[in-house]
């Protein structure tokens, strides 16, 4: 029976069951009590010896990766559901579903201590498939959804957290804030401080620049056509390109489609 306890218990069980009367009287005779304890003690005695043999460090130093780690965390269910064979990055034993007992939003605190870093893979949190997706989404949501954004003419890209906005207008404003200074710095060749010019009209084709994005199918698309949350669910990266270049792209490349 795979129920998370060691095989030694199966040796105990037959004897124990014999000792217990069929009726509901569970008050076992003193002898049996001692037997049970004796058995438990000796089992742990053996355990002691085992641990002494395996322990490499001085007493008090925990070295549980070498010790007799529990035989299995398997429930009667398919083992793969609960104990994955994913590679472990650290020397901890295989992660167990729901252990340690902390809420999902308290996991990965150490790894996300740099502000709102994108979630490090959720592989160190193992859950059955039906929950994993939802959890992963939750963790992604909670940590911020960052996509790269580049601007033509600016060699350094930025990253923008799309979870921080709920509309195209706000995104457009954010893009302006991100790149206004950088763009001005690029244009400035004479060493004089050039006036920073606002980047406007990103969404309606009227400005000098237009916002486009690459979606999950690899296509390059104009930003603004679909409802915001649909956009957020398909966008992979953003790009600010010169509005005049759009027609060049249409004429030049077969791979890039721009749909109106």
């Amino acid at each position: 029976m795979e129920s998370g306890y060691s095989r030694v218990d199966e040796e105990i069980h037959p004897q124990l069951l014999d000792l217990i009367p069929k009726e509901r009287n569970w008050f076992v005779k003193r002898d049996d009590d001692h037997n049970i304890e004796g058995r438990s003690r000796s089992r742990h005695g053996n355990g002691d010896e085992k641990k002494l043999e395996l322990r490499l460090g001085p007493p008090g130093v925990e070295d549980w990766s070498l010790s007799d780690t529990p035989k299995s965390y398997k429930s009667p269910a398919k083992a793969s559901a609960n104990v994955p064979n994913t590679s472990q990055k650290r020397s901890a034993p295989a992660p167990v579903v729901g252990w340690p007992p902390i809420r999902s939003f308290r996991k990965n605190i150490a790894s996300s201590s740099s502000k709102q870093a994108p979630p490090s893979d959720s592989q160190n949190v193992v859950v059955p498939d039906n929950v994993a997706k939802k959890e992963k989404t939750m963790e992604t949501c909670q940590k911020g959804f960052f996509v790269k954004i580049n601007m033509n003419g600016v060699p350094i890209g930025r990253k923008v957290d799309l979870n921080a906005y709920d509309s195209y207008e706000k995104l457009s404003t954010a893009v302006d804030e991100l790149f206004r200074g950088l763009l001005a710095a690029q244009k400035d060749t004479s060493g004089n401080q050039e006036q920073e010019k606002a980047i406007t009209g990103l969404l309606d084709g009227c400005g000098e620049y237009t916002l486009v994005y690459e979606d999950n199918e690899g296509d390059r698309m104009l930003v603004g056509d679909v409802p915001w949350h649909m956009f957020v669910s398909t966008v992979k990266r953003l790009r600010v390109i010169k509005t005049s270049e759009i027609s060049n792209i249409c004429l030049g490349s077969k791979q890039v489609k721009i749909r109106h």
Binding site: S3, Y5, W26, D48, E62, R106, K115, N163, D166
Partner: protein, 580 residues
């Protein structure tokens, strides 16, 4: 009875009884008291939404103003309850909307709450005042928008650790300009950014606002503005506590905090930039509650903070505080009643964090009022447990989680039986206990013998045999909630103590050794129980009867078996029901 008081007098007397236990007792005295009490009961608490159905509740208590419901079992918090299990609020809301049009308060915990439910709430109760959703899921910010738009007299809107489908922050803007009654707003678990100007205006027109818990998306730069508008705040949850270091922000934060003379509780502190921590030092001596469990700042900063919080009663913190910080806590915070220490990096074997059993031992020595402990750490010993037990016999809640399952006493390699034994022996008022580490049946013998006031027990990776479970079920007289995972407990103990289960709210067992056959027998013999097997394997019907179930949830009920279950949940043994 000819000599009893007139009804009005009795009603008046009963109105002073607020505890539901007292009211339940009163209602059992005689028929006339039962009748009188049911008409003047105003608050209902239903600990398991499947234990009773709403029609029964409304029929018995016609004039209720406040309803509190709990749904899923506690282990749902740790993903042990599969999606779709149940706990739906909607059927309750529908009945309550019909039966209690003057309802003022709804509190739900671990329930599935849909946008339809929220809309129904917002439109059904003219005098609705309080909505608290804890660990709920199933709704989006659209539902919140309905609440904001329609609940004219709302005082409290608290979302505690809920999973919300965050479509946008626009919901907050739905509070009308005429809405000024807000006293408490907790949106800490939401992700998207709300319109800051809408938030600002809401705070400005809410003179009674006492509790404000912001979400992470509210930047630190905006905090001073909000505090200036609400200097009367008693509880504040900051948003992200991070910004580029600017002296003007430092000083405006400092100034804003110092104006909040009533501030007693602080939380939030995501993304802490330590340079901004001193901004609230002036508040520390007044604080009674401090939640730093998201503050990823190191021991020296944390120590500095707690050392100034001389009136602190409750502290939640990460293990970054380390033993040294806890030692400082034990010397500075003599009023401490509750301590929770969470793991910063629970999935590594070695975390480079110097938090050991010693930290908790220090606090148990130095804090005479310590009652409630939740402690995650990597090592413990019997001697430490015994010391803690002797230091603090007044403990009522003791939840120890040693991160490695079945970890023995790190000094002696023995099981931790005697240590936990000391806890139950000395702490005679212990109501809640969570065990961890290497444990044999012995510890359950101690628990069954001594833990007579124990109300809730959580067990994982422990015990040797059915005897362990038997000790608990037969010995713990006050036990109402028992949750067990990965223990070798099987049919015998369960069947032998079937009667006990009817005195409890619920029993959860997962990855144990209880068979389908035993569940069926139990369900057949005990009509007052629902014995639900949760098992996601295919071909469930072809699994032999003596094979163990994946998960088992048993609860007492007067509502009969439920019919809103997914395919992987079955109520066992109900084909021979004698009642409808």
């Amino acid at each position: 009875m000819a000599y009893s008081f007139p009804e009005e007098v009795l009603e008046h007397v009963f109105s002073f009884l607020s505890s539901e236990k007292d009211r339940n007792a009163v209602s059992l005295v005689c028929k006339s008291w039962y009748e009188m009490e049911r008409w003047c009961r105003r608050r209902i608490f239903v600990g398991n939404c499947y234990a009773v159905n709403p029609k029964i509740m409304i029929r018995r208590f016609p004039e209720v103003k406040s309803v509190e419901l709990k749904g899923k079992p506690h282990f749902a918090d740790f993903n042990l309850v599969p999606e779709g299990w149940g706990g739906y609020a909607y059927p309750w809301i529908v009945e309550i909307a019909r039966g209690y049009p003057w309802l003022e308060e709804i509190r739900l915990k671990r329930m599935v709450v849909t946008d339809e439910s929220l809309e129904l709430i917002s439109k059904s109760f003219k005098n609705f005042k309080v909505l608290v959703l804890s660990s709920c899921e199933g709704f989006s910010t659209d539902g919140l928008a309905a609440i904001a738009a329609n609940c004219r007299n709302l005082r409290v809107l608290e979302l505690r650790e809920c999973e919300v489908e965050d479509l946008s922050g626009h919901w907050l803007s739905h509070f009308p300009d005429s809405f000024t009654s807000l006293e408490s707003l907790n949106m800490g678990c939401l992700n998207s950014e709300v319109s800051f100007s809408a938030l600002e205006r809401l705070v400005a027109r809410s003179p009674n606002l006492k509790t404000l818990r912001l979400n992470r998306a509210v930047p630190l730069e905006k905090l001073p503005t909000l505090l200036q508008l609400a200097p009367q705040l008693v509880e504040l949850g900051t948003g992200s506590y991070s910004a580029e270091i600017r002296s003007d922000l430092c000083s405006s934060l400092l100034e804003a905090f110092s104006r909040c003379k009533n501030l007693k509780g602080l939380s939030g502190f995501w993304d802490v930039v330590p340079a901004y921590l001193p901004a609230f030092y002036s508040m520390c001596p007044r604080l009674t509650f401090l939640n730093l469990s998201y503050a990823t700042t190191q021991s020296p900063d944390l120590t500095k903070i707690v050392s100034q919080c001389h009136n602190l009663q409750r502290l939640w913190v990460l293990d970054y505080i380390e033993d040294t910080g806890l030692n400082a806590l034990s010397m500075s915070c003599k009023d401490l009643q509750e301590l929770r220490v969470f793991p910063s990096d629970p999935f590594v074997a070695d975390a480079n964090v110097l938090l050991t059993e010693q930290g908790l031992v220090s606090v148990s020595e130095g804090c005479p009022k310590l009652q409630s402990v939740l402690y995650f750490c990597r090592q413990f010993s019997n001697s430490a447990l015994t010391t803690i037990a002797k230091n603090r016999p007044n403990l009522t809640t003791f939840r120890l989680c040693i991160l490695e399952p079945r970890a023995p006493d790190y000094l002696t390699f023995e099981p931790l039986d005697s240590g936990f034994g000391s806890i139950v022996q000395h702490c005679k008022n212990l109501r809640r206990l969570s065990l961890s580490g290497l444990l044999t049946d012995r510890v359950f013998q101690h628990i069954g013998t001594h833990a007579k006031k124990l109300d809730m027990l959580s067990i994982a990776f422990a015990g040797d045999s059915d005897l362990g479970l038997h000790y608990v079920l037969s010995g713990c007289e006050s036990l109402r909630k028992l949750e067990i995972r990965d223990c070798p407990f099987g049919d015998k103990a369960l069947l032998a103590n079937a009667d006990k289960l009817e005195t409890m709210r619920s029993l959860w067992m997962s990855s144990c050794a209880v068979s389908f056959g035993a569940c069926k027998v139990l369900g057949q013999k005990m009509p007052g129980l629902n014995v639900e097997v949760i098992d996601e394997r295919e071909n469930l019907d072809s699994i032999p009867h003596n094979s163990p179930v994946e998960k088992l949830y048993i609860y007492r009920t007067v509502a009969g078996e439920r019919f809103d279950m997914p395919h992987f949940v079955r109520t066992m043994g109900k084909d021979n029901r004698r009642f409808k």
